[in-house]
């Protein structure tokens, strides 16, 4: 490259670098307005929505506090364990004991993360900025959902990890595959909770954290526990035992911890012992499939609502 060419190149660079408010008369070429670009793939746009939603979560105090609390929960439980939890030398049971808060907190965190995620976009009018962009509503919808699911799922996985660390002492340290399977069932339950709450947020005008929580943690389990009393049929009881709202109970039962105190089933059976004969489903694979299928169904229903929605 000759000296002249080098100099010309340098001058061109200076024009871009010295671009300030006093030089508003730049040509389209100088301001790069003539650069032609191609729209990225749908997947790439979905990921952009995902990252934006994740960034939003990191700046929401409620989300940060809830996440920290959930991650710290095993530590708190471990510290209090000597007073309120049955101690066990069997690692899996000890882990399940530490994680026994999961059924309520997964539902709660899913509701906080997804309860008003979409309605907020419409109420705060941010959707008026995002939806006219050249991307499909499915990218927008899925990007936000994936962010919520990753957040809650990540926290649950982190809680499992912390519980494992805490059981490094005082137990026999026999970590079996059941632990991994239990985590998978928990994640399926997270998927179900997130998609159900997300679907509700598409229908509710102002969004709600309370309504999906009551539905998932109280109404559905209550129905499942009361209906068999009237029908007195084993088949119905067994089917209802696989309702996805018992996903977390199944995950903990897999670890050999049958007395899950902080779930609706645990609370109900502890307060009214012997009144009903109900037990949650025993097969984790069936429970996982039920969670995924019902979650996918709710996710699709929510998408159908969003796609047809007139903003």
């Amino acid at each position: 490259m000759s000296r002249k060419e080098k100099k010309a190149k340098k001058v061109k660079k200076t024009i871009v670098d010295s671009y300030d408010e006093s030089s508003r008369d730049l040509t389209d070429h100088q301001a790069h307005r003539d650069v032609v670009y191609a729209l990225p793939s749908k997947m790439s746009q979905t990921m952009q929505c995902y990252f934006v939603q994740m960034k939003r979560y990191t700046r929401q105090r409620v989300m940060v506090l809830s996440s920290v609390l959930l991650i710290l929960m095993p530590v708190i439980y471990y510290a209090m364990g000597i007073y309120i939890l049955p101690t066990s030398a069997v690692t899996n049971i000890a882990i399940a004991g530490i994680l026994s808060f999961m059924p309520i907190l997964i539902v709660l965190l899913s509701c906080i993360a997804c309860g008003s995620i979409l309605s907020q976009e419409f109420n705060e009018r941010t959707a008026f900025l995002s939806l006219p962009l050249p991307m499909s509503r499915s990218s927008f919808y899925m990007g936000k959902f994936l962010a919520a699911f990753t957040l809650v799922g990540g926290i649950v996985a982190a809680a499992y990890g912390i519980a494992m660390l805490l059981t490094m002492t005082g137990t026999d340290r026999t970590y079996t595959w059941d632990l991994f399977r239990s985590l998978m069932v928990s994640l399926c339950f997270v998927f179900f909770c997130c998609s159900t709450t997300y679907m509700l947020s598409t229908k509710l005008k102002r969004g709600s954290t309370m309504l999906p929580f009551i539905l998932l943690f109280i109404v559905l389990p209550l129905i499942a526990e009361i209906v068999p009393v009237f029908f007195k049929m084993d088949v119905i009881s067994k089917i209802l035992g696989y309702l996805p709202c018992f996903g977390a109970d199944v995950a903990l039962n897999m670890l050999g911890y049958t007395n899950v105190v902080i779930s609706f089933n645990g609370i109900f059976s502890n307060f009214v012992p012997g009144l009903i004969d109900f037990s949650v489903g025993g097969n984790p694979i069936i429970m996982s499939i039920v969670c995924i299928l019902s979650g996918a169904l709710f996710l699709f229903l929510g998408y159908y609502v969003v796609k047809r929605r007139d903003v």
């Binding site: 307005r33 650069v35 032609v36 729209l39 952009q48 962009l133 050249p134």
Partner: protein, 392 residues
């Protein structure tokens, strides 16, 4: 649809602006016929599928549209709305509305509250789905292809940016959705933020901004992809005079760049100052459409009425007022304040000169005589009145 059962025009976008579309890797070279700027026609639907499979790095198929009998899609038009209808239950918000915005044209969309302006703009941007009708943006059917929005910027009903984000982060979000590289995003973000005078606020949270500043960020987002069509829905509503002036200044810079604009507003001055054409709608129907100056000129010719304002020194006696009221062509007399009157006048120049004589006859000293002809306000009032009568 269609005399040409086998033909359908394709809109192709080049990735490299300098190169011509290269179909050499595609076996259809003979079947592709250019029919306009970035518009090509293919022989059959099979050809369309083949092209989709063998597209090269030089071209990107934005979409394809079956050719209508009266097809002039994309021919010099940035926006072509055809027979748009939107119903909400039994209520028809937009009724068979058609409008065309040429390339480089600034069009004002006027109408009273509830006329259907926002619904029209929302239909164009895909925020609501039309019940009936077609919308072509740069020749692409925007209802079927979201890619049509690639070169469109819009500010619909005071959109809000994410309050926890900074303007720079918003630009990154929009830039990545459009597929721009990080380097390009930085350069363009600076360009548009400087354009709307928000560059020095680029790293502050949008939640801390005033309404005017937030509106300017929205405008920057709209301008970010360097659109050739900008849609604005009441962009200056709720802003203080300074905010309004700044937004108008930005819009004027869009004009210099040759962008097309469709602006819905209640501020008639904006339309008369900035727009070259206007479409007035009421109850979802077009009342009138055309060049702003021509429409006002036609009104002035039909009405032959001017508003006259007089400012005088001296006491305005009752005798003077009754005399001026009694003059031929004077109506709607109004006393504006100390020594100032306003009235409508429909008469000859001689009769108008008599008014001046009358002022001097009453020993008043004439400070100023201001005559205004038909303007956009009178046109608006007339048309909305007529529409009301028609509906009754």
């Amino acid at each position: 649809m269609t005399a040409q059962t086998s033909g359908c025009p394709l809109h192709l976008e080049r990735l490299k602006s300098s190169s011509k579309p290269n179909f050499s890797r595609c076996s259809l070279a003979q079947a592709i016929v250019p029919i306009g700027n970035d518009l090509f026609m293919l022989g059959s639907k099979m050809n369309v599928l083949n092209l989709m499979f063998c597209r090269t790095r030089d071209i990107q198929v934005i979409g394809f549209t079956p050719m209508d009998d009266d097809s002039d899609i994309g021919q010099g038009l940035s926006l072509d709305v055809r027979n748009l209808t939107k119903r909400f239950g039994n209520f028809t918000a937009v009724d068979n509305l058609s409008l065309k915005v040429k390339k480089g044209e600034f069009m004002g969309l006027l109408g009273p509250n509830g006329a259907g302006k926002s619904t029209t703009l929302k239909s164009i941007t895909g925020l609501i789905s039309p019940t009936k009708g077609k919308i072509y943006i740069n020749g692409i059917d925007s209802v079927k292809h979201r890619n049509a929005m690639t070169h469109v910027g819009c500010v619909i009903e005071t959109p809000e940016s994410y309050p926890n984000f900074t303007p720079t982060e918003m630009m990154q979000y929009v830039g990545r959705i459009h597929g721009l590289s990080n380097k390009e995003i930085k350069i363009r973000a600076r360009d548009v933020l400087e354009e709307v005078r928000m560059w020095s606020w680029r790293d502050k949270n949008i939640g801390e901004f005033s309404k005017g500043m937030r509106q300017r960020v929205s405008l920057a987002v709209a301008m970010f992809p360097n659109p050739n069509l900008v849609l604005l829905d009441e962009p200056t509503s709720g802003l203080d005079p300074r905010g309004m002036i700044e937004i108008r200044r930005t819009m004027n810079s869009l004009k210099k760049r040759g962008m097309s604009l469709l602006i819905s507003t209640h501020i008639l001055k904006e339309v008369s100052e900035m727009c070259t054409s206007m479409t007035m709608i009421n109850h979802g129907k077009t009342i009138i459409s055309g060049d702003v100056n021509k429409l006002i000129h036609n009104l002035a010719q039909n009405e032959n009425t001017v508003a006259i304002e007089l400012r005088m020194l001296g006491d305005l006696t009752n005798k003077f007022i009754s005399d001026i009221n009694a003059m031929t062509g004077v109506s709607n007399f109004e006393k504006m304040g100390e020594g100032s009157v306003k009235f409508s006048f429909n008469g000859t120049d001689d009769q108008q000169a008599d008014i001046v004589d009358l002022v001097y006859a009453h020993k008043l000293r004439l400070l100023c005589m201001n005559e205004t002809g038909a303007d956009i306000e009178s046109l608006y009032m007339k048309l909305t009145d007529e529409a009301r009568v028609n509906i009754k």
